[in-house]
Symmetry: C2
Subunit: 251 residues, 2 copies
Amino acid sequence: MNDFIRMLLSHRSIRTFRDEPLTNEQIEYMVKSAQAAASSSFMQPYTIIGVKNKELKDQLAEFSGNKYVAKNGHFFVFCMDLNRHRLAAEMEGYDIQQFNTTIDSIEWFMFGLIDTAIAAQNLVTAAESMGLGICYIGGIRNNLEKVCEVLNTPDRVIPLFGMCVGYPEQDPDVKPRLPMENIYHEDGYNLDEAQYKEQLEEYNKILSNYYLERTNGKRNDRWTEQVVEKLRKENRAYIKEFLEGKKIPLK
Amino acid sequence: MNDFIRMLLSHRSIRTFRDEPLTNEQIEYMVKSAQAAASSSFMQPYTIIGVKNKELKDQLAEFSGNKYVAKNGHFFVFCMDLNRHRLAAEMEGYDIQQFNTTIDSIEWFMFGLIDTAIAAQNLVTAAESMGLGICYIGGIRNNLEKVCEVLNTPDRVIPLFGMCVGYPEQDPDVKPRLPMENIYHEDGYNLDEAQYKEQLEEYNKILSNYYLERTNGKRNDRWTEQVVEKLRKENRAYIKEFLEGKKIPLK
C-alpha cells in the first residue's frame, strides 16, 4: 500500500477546527486540484464559492442548521453551474431559445452534479494531503432559497453542498464501511438478496460494536436502523420546485 | 507543493492501455479507497460493478459507443444504488409503502449521484497513485436500458458512468482548465458578466493554442465553441422516462 492510498483509507470527517484561516496558497492548491479532475465533454460545469466573511458564514450556518459552518479555516460552497454555458452560447451567437431547450434536461443536471462532486473530492484529497481536515455539509440543501440569496447566485447555479476545511482539533476514528463484497460486484449485479442481507447483518454488528465502544455503551445503531431513521420523513421535498424556479426543470 | 497535489494536477484521461489485466489486489485498493470517501448521512448509496468478462466488455463498448470500454486493464461501472436501502428497510420491518413514498424524491437522487461521484474520484486517485491511468465513460448513459439488462441491475440501481483503468499506453498532455478566477469566487457569486466573458475570451485563446500546437494546426477549438457544439442537440432525452421505469421518479 502506498502513501496515497493510506491517506485515502484514513479519511474521517472533521467537525471542529483550530481558529486559523487558510492561506491563499492553500486555497489555490485546493481549487486547482479540484479543477484538475476530469470533466464530461470538458464542460467544467461548476463554481466553487469560498466564504471568508464572518457574517456570511454565520448566515450559512443558520440556513444549513449546522454550527460547524461558522467555525473552520475556510468554508466552500460547491455549485453546479450551467450559467457559464449560457454566456458561452451568447459569445458564440448561439440561439438562446435553442439553448433553453437543450440545457433543460436531466442529462445536463446529472452532468452538473457528477462533475461538481468529482471536483470536490479532489479538493478533499488536496486538503488532507496538507494536513487539513474536512467535512461535507449537505445541510446547505435545507434552505437553498436563502443560500442562493446571500451568495447572489444567478439562474442555473445550484449550491449542492458545502465543505468545512481547516486544521483539525479532534481526532476521530475511521468508521467501518459496508463490506467490500456488498459494494463491489463482478460482471453483473449480485441479485442474491439472501446473501446481501447476510452481509448487511454482519455489517450491522460491526457498526454497532464500533458505536458501543466509542460511546461507553450509549449508542449501538445498526446501519439498517440508520437507513430507516433517514427514511422516516420526506427529505427536502421543496427541491423540485426550487430547481424549476432556477431554470433547472428536470425533463 | 506536495506529491499528492502534484499528482492531482497532472491528471489527464488515458484512452489506450497495455493489454494487461489489473490484479485483485489493485482492484481491492481502488474499491476500498472509493468506499473510504465521505457519504452523506453514511447512506453509502452506490454499487461498483467491475467488468472482467470479455464479451460483456464488448457489449458495453457497443452500447456506450466507445471502443476504449473494450480494451483496458479493468472496466468499472459506477451505479447509484437505492436498492440496498429497500433491503435495509425490509430487514428493519419498515413499512414498504412509506419507503416508496420517502425514497422517491429528487433529494435522494442527488444524494445518490453526489456520493457515487465522490467515491469514484477516490478510486481515480488510488489508481493514479499506482501508476495506472483512467478515463471516465459518460457514454454508458447513451443506452441505459441495455446496460442495465446485461448487468442485471434491479430497480433503483442506475449506472451513472463507467471508468476504464489500466496501464497507460499513451502520454497525453494536461489540458488547460478554466482560469481559477472564473471557477472560484469569494463571498458570493461574481455577477460581473463582462469580466466573466473577458476571462472566457482569454481562456478560448489558451485552449485554441493548446489544440493548434498539438494537432499541427488542424484543430483550434475555442472552449465556448465546444460548449455550443455540445448544445446543438438534445442529449439523452430518454433518461427521465427511463428513471421512472426504474422507480426513480424525480419529484
